[in-house]
C-alpha cells in the first residue's frame, strides 16, 4: 500500500503576492464592516447573516465533500482532497462571525420579542422551537459539532502524510459516516434558524434542502477555482487530467440543476396551493424593484451557469471552469441576499459600500486562512493509499 511514495509531488510555497492580496482584502473588508456597524447596524447585521451563511456554505460544504469522498471510497478527488480540507477551516472562523450578530438579535429576529410573540397566535405556537434560549443552544451546538468533526477528520488526514498508515483512512471513513447525518440535520436547521426565521410566519419544509443545494454548489465552485488555479501553476501533484477537471465541472453543472430543481419545487407548490400564509414570502420578493432581482436570480443562478457548463468541452476547459466557479460563488451570495435582504428592506434593493464590504472581508478571510494552512501542510494528501489510483483516474 506504499504506492504513494512514487507520486511526484514537490511542496512549494505559495507566492507572497497571494498573501498580500488576502491581507489587503481582509483589512479593507474589516474596516468597511466595522464602519458599516457604526453607520447602520441593523442593515449590517443582515449583511452579516449573509456572510455567515456564505462562509458556512463553503466551509461546511467542503467538509461534506471530504466526508463523502471517504464514505463513498471515491478516488478521483483524492489528489486534491486537501483543498476542501483547507477550505473547511473556515468553520473555525464562524464563532467570530456570529459574535456581532448576537448583539443585534432583537433587531433581526421579530420573534425574539416576548410581547410580539404574546400577541401573535402563530408565533406563540412556534415558541417551543423559536425562543432565545433554544436558539442560542442550537447556534453553539451546531458550530461546536462542525468544528469537532472538522478537527478530527482533518487531523487524521494530515497524520497520514507522515505515517502513510492506511488504517487512518478507515478511521476517517467512520468519522465521515457519523458526520454526514449530523451535517444533514444541522445544515437544515441552520438554514431554518438564520434564514427562514427572518420571516417567522413563513415556512417551507424544503428550505433546508434549498440551502443545502446552494451550499454544495458553492463548495464545489470554491474547490474547483482553487484546484484549477493551483494546478495550472504547478502546486499540486503532477498528473491531473481533463478527466479530473471534467468531474469537477460536471458536479458544478449537476448541482446547478439540482438547485434549480429544488428552488422550482419550492416555488411551484406554493404557487399552486396559493395559500396566503405561504405566498406572501414570494410576493414580498415580487414587489417594487425586488421583482427584477427575483427574475435576475433565475438567470444568475441557473440560466447562465447552465449554458456556461452545458457542453462537454466547457466542463474541462480551465479558463471556463475558473470563470464559472467564480460566477457560481457570486451567484450563491446573490441567492443568500435574495433570501435575507427583502426581510429588512421591504421597499426595494439596497446596495452600497456596506454590501461590498462583507463579501470582501469573506474573501479576505478565506485567502488568509488558505495561505496560512498551506505553509504548514502539504497541498496534497501524499500519504493516502488512494492517491495513486486517484491520479490514474480516467472517466
Amino acid at each position: 500500500m506504499s504506492s504513494s511514495h512514487n507520486v511526484e509531488y514537490q511542496k512549494k510555497e505559495l507566492p507572497a503576492k497571494i498573501r498580500t492580496i488576502g491581507l489587503v482584502l481582509f483589512i479593507i473588508g474589516l474596516i468597511g464592516v466595522t464602519a458599516s456597524y457604526f453607520t447602520d447596524s441593523s442593515r449590517s447585521a443582515f449583511n452579516n447573516i449573509i456572510m455567515l451563511s456564505f462562509l458556512t456554505s463553503v466551509g461546511l460544504g467542503s467538509l461534506f465533500l471530504v466526508a463523502v469522498e471517504y464514505v463513498a471510497g471515491a478516488v478521483w478527488s483524492t489528489p486534491f482532497r486537501r483543498i476542501p480540507e483547507f477550505l473547511s477551516t473556515i468553520l473555525l472562523v464562524l464563532p467570530v462571525v456570529v459574535i456581532p450578530l448576537l448583539f443585534k438579535l432583537g433587531d433581526i429576529f421579530h420573534w425574539m420579542h416576548p410581547e410580539v410573540v404574546e400577541a401573535d397566535k402563530v408565533l406563540k405556537g412556534k415558541a417551543p422551537y423559536l425562543n432565545v434560549e433554544f436558539f442560542m443552544v442550537r447556534v453553539v451546538l451546531f458550530i461546536l459539532l462542525w468544528i469537532l468533526f472538522y478537527y478530527f477528520i482533518t487531523r487524521t488526514s494530515k497524520k497520514q502524510d507522515s505515517t502513510f498508515d492506511p488504517s487512518l483512512t478507515k478511521k476517517n471513513i467512520k468519522l465521515s459516516a457519523a458526520f454526514i447525518p449530523v451535517f444533514g440535520i444541522t445544515i437544515s436547521f441552520f438554514a431554518f434558524d438564520w434564514l427562514m426565521s427572518l420571516e417567522p410566519h413563513w415556512f417551507s419544509t424544503i428550505f433546508g434542502v434549498y440551502y443545502f443545494s446552494g451550499s454544495i454548489l458553492a463548495a464545489f465552485a470554491a474547490v474547483t477555482f482553487v484546484v484549477v488555479m493551483l494546478n495550472e501553476n504547478g502546486y499540486l501533484v503532477k498528473g491531473l487530467t481533463n478527466d479530473h477537471y471534467y468531474s469537477l465541472g460536471a458536479f458544478m453543472f449537476a448541482f446547478t440543476n439540482f438547485w434549480a430543481y429544488i428552488a422550482f419545487s419550492q416555488f411551484l407548490l406554493i404557487w399552486y396551493a396559493n395559500l396566503p400564509e405561504e405566498t406572501f414570502w414570494f410576493l414580498q420578493r415580487w414587489e417594487g424593484n425586488w421583482i427584477y432581482y427575483t427574475i435576475g436570480l433565475i438567470f444568475v443562478r441557473f440560466a447562465i451557469p447552465y449554458f456556461g457548463l452545458l457542453s462537454q468541452p466547457s466542463k474541462m476547459e480551465p479558463k471556463r471552469l475558473k470563470i464559472m466557479s467564480v460566477w457560481l460563488l457570486f451567484a450563491h451570495w446573490y441567492d443568500l441576499y435574495w433570501l435575507a435582504m427583502p426581510n429588512y428592506s421591504k421597499d426595494g434593493i439596497l446596495f452600497s459600500w456596506i454590501e461590498i464590504a462583507f463579501p470582501v472581508l469573506s474573501v479576505g478571510i478565506v485567502i488568509l486562512l488558505f495561505v496560512q494552512l498551506s505553509k504548514k501542510n502539504n497541498l496534497v494528501a501524499i500519504g493516502d493509499p488512494k492517491l495513486k489510483r486517484g491520479i490514474d483516474f480516467r472517466l
Partner: protein
C-alpha cells in the same frame, strides 16, 4: 462463385492498452478509412483515433429544445385557446404549471431522438450487408478481443505494407476480409416471405399475449385477488341483513345531516300557503338563481322562461312561465313544482339544494317582471 474483392485487413489485440496504442499509430500513419472494434466502449479511443467531437449532442440539444417548445405550445393551445378552463383559480396561461410537463417532454424527446439518431443515422443501421458480418474477426471482437480493420479503400492502403504495419503493432491473427458484389448488391425486399412471416408472427404473438393477459390471466387465481374483496358493491344483496338489502335506509326517526324532509309532497296548495321565500332579492342570490336556472331549467323553459325548448321536440315543450296563472302563484307554489315535480317536470331536489331552488324562484320572478313591467318601472 463471383470474384472476391478485398475489403480490409484486420488485426486482433488482447488488451485495451494495445488497441489504443494501435489506434494512435494507425491515425499517425495517416490512414483515414479504418475502424476499431471493441466489446465495450473504451475511454480515450476518440483521442487515439483523432475523431472530431461527436455531433450527437447537437441532436439532443435541438430536439430537446423543440420538445420543450412543443410542450409549451400544446398546453398553451389546450388550456388557454381551445378549451379554456379555470384550474385552481389560476390564469388560463399559467407558465409555472407547464414547467414540469415541458421538462418531461424535453427529456423524453431528447433521449429518444438521441438513441434513434445514433442507431439509424450515425451507425447507419440496419446494415445487413456489411463485409465484416459473420466473420471470425467480428465474433472475437464482440466477445473478448479488440480489433482494428484497415480498409482497402484507403489511399495509403497497400496490401504488403499493411500486413507489415499490423505485425509491427503487435497484432495477432492478421486476416484479410473479402466481400463479393452479390453480397453487397443483394437487396432485402420488404415483401420477402420470411419478413412477412416475421411480422405476422410478431403481430399474433403480441395480440395473443395481450388478449390472454387482459381477458384470461386476470381471472385466474392468484391474479384475480383484486376481485375478491370483503365489501359490498352498491345495490348488491347482502346475507348479513334479514331483508337481504345491501344498501341500508336511515335509522327510523332520523334524518341525514343538512337535510330537511319536504313536508308538502303532493300538496301544492298547502305548499303555496305555508312556504315563505327566505331569500332576499340581492345580486349574489339572483346570480346563483340565474346560474341554476340556465343549467337545469333553461333546456326546456328557455333562457327567458318562454317555453322555447332547446330540445327540438324530444321532450314536450312546457308552457310559458309568463302566464297570468304562474305570475299570480305565490313563491311557495313555484318552489313546490321545482321540489316535487308536476306533470312532466320531475323533482329537482337532488340536483339543487333548498337554497338554490329558492334562488331560482327569485330569478323566475325577475324574468316575469322583465316581460310584464309595470308602469312605475319605467320611471
Amino acid at each position: 462463385m463471383s470474384d472476391k474483392i478485398l475489403y480490409s485487413y484486420t488485426g486482433i489485440f488482447d488488451t485495451p492498452d494495445e488497441i489504443i496504442h494501435a489506434a494512435e499509430k494507425t491515425s499517425e500513419y495517416g490512414f483515414k478509412k479504418y475502424d476499431v472494434h471493441t466489446p465495450y466502449p473504451l475511454h480515450g479511443m476518440n483521442k487515439a483515433m483523432k475523431l472530431p467531437p461527436s455531433k450527437l449532442g447537437y441532436v439532443a440539444l435541438v430536439v430537446g429544445l423543440s420538445g420543450a417548445l412543443a410542450a409549451l405550445l400544446l398546453m398553451f393551445w389546450m388550456s388557454a385557446v381551445d378549451y379554456p378552463i379555470i384550474i385552481g383559480g389560476k390564469p388560463f396561461f399559467s407558465f409555472p404549471a407547464y414547467v414540469p410537463v415541458m421538462f418531461e417532454v424535453t427529456v423524453l424527446s431528447a433521449s429518444i431522438a438521441t438513441v434513434l439518431t445514433m442507431l439509424f443515422i450515425f451507425f447507419k443501421l440496419p446494415n445487413n450487408a456489411h463485409p465484416l458480418h459473420d466473420t471470425d474477426y467480428m465474433k472475437k471482437v464482440s466477445s473478448n478481443k479488440y480489433g482494428i480493420s484497415i480498409q482497402a479503400e484507403d489511399e495509403k492502403f497497400n496490401e504488403e505494407q499493411v500486413k507489415i504495419f499490423l505485425t509491427g503493432l503487435g497484432a495477432k491473427e492478421i486476416t484479410a476480409v473479402y466481400y463479393d458484389n452479390d453480397e453487397i448488391n443483394h437487396k432485402h425486399k420488404i415483401l420477402e416471405p420470411k419478413f412477412i412471416g416475421f411480422l405476422l408472427f410478431t403481430a399474433l404473438l403480441t395480440s395473443g399475449v395481450s388478449y390472454f393477459v387482459l381477458n384470461k390471466l386476470l381471472y385466474m387465481p392468484p391474479f384475480d385477488w383484486m376481485m375478491e374483496q370483503d365489501k359490498l358493491n352498491p345495490q348488491a344483496t347482502s346475507t348479513v341483513f334479514a331483508d337481504g338489502f345491501g344498501m341500508r335506509e336511515p335509522v327510523e326517526g332520523t334524518i341525514s345531516r343538512g337535510h330537511l324532509p319536504y313536508l308538502f309532497k303532493g300538496q301544492p296548495e298547502a305548499a303555496e300557503i305555508n312556504l315563505a321565500n327566505p331569500l332576499p332579492f340581492t345580486k349574489p342570490v339572483l346570480e346563483m338563481g340565474q346560474k341554476k336556472f340556465d343549467t337545469f331549467c333553461s333546456p326546456c323553459h328557455g333562457y327567458h322562461g318562454e317555453g322555447d325548448s332547446r330540445l327540438r321536440g324530444q321532450f314536450p315543450n312546457p308552457p310559458s312561465l309568463h302566464s297570468e296563472k304562474i305570475r299570480n302563484w305565490k313563491d311557495g307554489r313555484i318552489f313546490h313544482v321545482i321540489t316535487d315535480g308536476q306533470n312532466v317536470i320531475p323533482s329537482y331536489s337532488s340536483q339543487m339544494t333548498t337554497e338554490e331552488r329558492w334562488a331560482v324562484v327569485n330569478y323566475i320572478r325577475v324574468l316575469q317582471r322583465a316581460l310584464n313591467a309595470k308602469e312605475s318601472d319605467l320611471k
